[in-house]
Symmetry: C2
Amino acid sequence: MRVTIHDIAKLVGVSPSTVSRALSGKGRISPAMRERIRKVAEELGYQPNMLARGLATRSTCAVGVVIHERHLPLDERSFYGVILEAIEAEVSKHGYHVVFSTLRNHALPRCVRERRVDGLIFLGTDIKEELVRPISTELPVVLVDHCIPGLTSVVGDNVGGGRLATEHLLSHGHRNIAFVAETLEDPSFRARFDGYRQALEEHGLRVRKELIVEGGRRSDSDRIAMEKLLRKKKLPTAIFAANDFMAVGAIRALTKAGLRVPDDVAVVGFDDGALATLVHPPLTSVHVPRVEMGKSAAFCLLELLSSPKKVSQVIVLPTPLTIRESCGCRGV
Amino acid sequence: MRVTIHDIAKLVGVSPSTVSRALSGKGRISPAMRERIRKVAEELGYQPNMLARGLATRSTCAVGVVIHERHLPLDERSFYGVILEAIEAEVSKHGYHVVFSTLRNHALPRCVRERRVDGLIFLGTDIKEELVRPISTELPVVLVDHCIPGLTSVVGDNVGGGRLATEHLLSHGHRNIAFVAETLEDPSFRARFDGYRQALEEHGLRVRKELIVEGGRRSDSDRIAMEKLLRKKKLPTAIFAANDFMAVGAIRALTKAGLRVPDDVAVVGFDDGALATLVHPPLTSVHVPRVEMGKSAAFCLLELLSSPKKVSQVIVLPTPLTIRESCGCRGV
DNA sequence: CTGTTAGCGCATTCAA
DNA sequence: TTGAATGCGCTAACAG
């Protein structure tokens, strides 16, 4: 049995509540007594049982990080791992723990049912409003990479990034720019597409249906999409891919087809993750600040936890373009 | 305030302890009464407060998953994300939660100090024995990707995989096979190297120092290593890379240098993650069964949790070679 | 400033 | 089979 405040109280000759006050930092207590108790606690190797404390204070000092299983696996293609990690780094600084869980069938996560967490961060676009809104009335909730009216969320500037990428290709003189994505049903990809459209329209160009290809939500989505694209009679001179995975797939498919990147077809991706520098030519890509997104989400949640009735906000993080070579620029 | 067993008790007209028995499934109770209570609980939307239950039963229904910060980021280069996910999938089936945390400075993870978890899974090779052994006397511990005598661990067959990869290259007729790694200080990479050596020696060949290159623990380790290698007067005809990241870097560096893969230099990697099919040519790689590793680790831990004094074991998972094209085989 | 009392929500004796 | 009493380890309200 581990040492409790009772053990310390007995040893010091005070009451347990005095020990509690000395150790929890709350409540008035004389500095001398506090030091004495602290020392004994230290010597005894006392560690508070946070579950007990939580039961008494009705707080858990834990936040849930929930990701929908559709966004899995958390492998080389996903960037939620980095966000998870950033959240953990941030909340742990403030004494909070991370309960990681996967959302299956849009069912209420067990960690909230069991009241194991004080707040929740949802990762990804596949979060149903019907699920989140009821939760948000009981617990502070922060969304990452997704927006629901009235809820605090942290997102990258997908529209702006889409414009940036497209404008960059336009500035290289391209007029036939394809848009390649897994699916336009995903809100993030849709937003990136909107940016693409805006940029085109501002340049007096129209979105041409035959230049939009989707590969579907599947592991070989890139291959499917590129097969569709390469089958067209007239190939685009540039491709804006909705994420790095598709961009890398595009480069591979183009190379295989005997086309040179960027000379025959330029490619720009979106995410700017580790993949971008792993391919040849190095991928020009819209940077999504994943670490900042995680940090920011954690920060927002901690804020909500400390001041319950804070107003919700949408934090849009900038997504600058990281220029490498696949767009046709000379290597930096 | 959420509904508690007292509310149910009052409504049904029984004592709280009866409700507890009915709902927790433990203790004798008449089936009729149980059903009655269950129904009311259902109607009231009762959800047990697991922290309270944990305090009473001194169990948390949570396991900690700890990764050393050196193995971060959890980005496209890491495969611990997948393992984490597999662990969560497995333990959640049994009602357990995952507390995810990062190990900094080899300090005792807070989740164990605060007794928030019933058991612990350590991910990665960078786990000091001095840290883990004391913990393991208090809590069941399972190691993934790392071995410490007397502790249960789940690892891939690194030595066997190293042999397999090397033998495959030997079977292609290669005699000058380089070994490229981030660092041989890492036990996994060291084991893969040992497999490489064994295979060579069994074929009457010796390890040649000039064919072993390390890039160091850094983000551009692949570049550093390949620069070293390409500077040699005599190039190898094949490269066995200690992981996919280095293999991909090798392919990129070779391509850049005007060499063809696999015609001029064959390449085999290790991990067989998503990267392997993202590069051109598709990477032949030793498969590390990450999902199985996670599942297996979770299973071991759950077993230790249910039967406390189970003997420790080392589970070695097979690492077959996934043949694609970078080794010189025709595409499958 | 400190001790006493009374829970937090649940499980688990022991009687009945 | 059920109820009453007690405790898990800690905090908090109220006295003193």
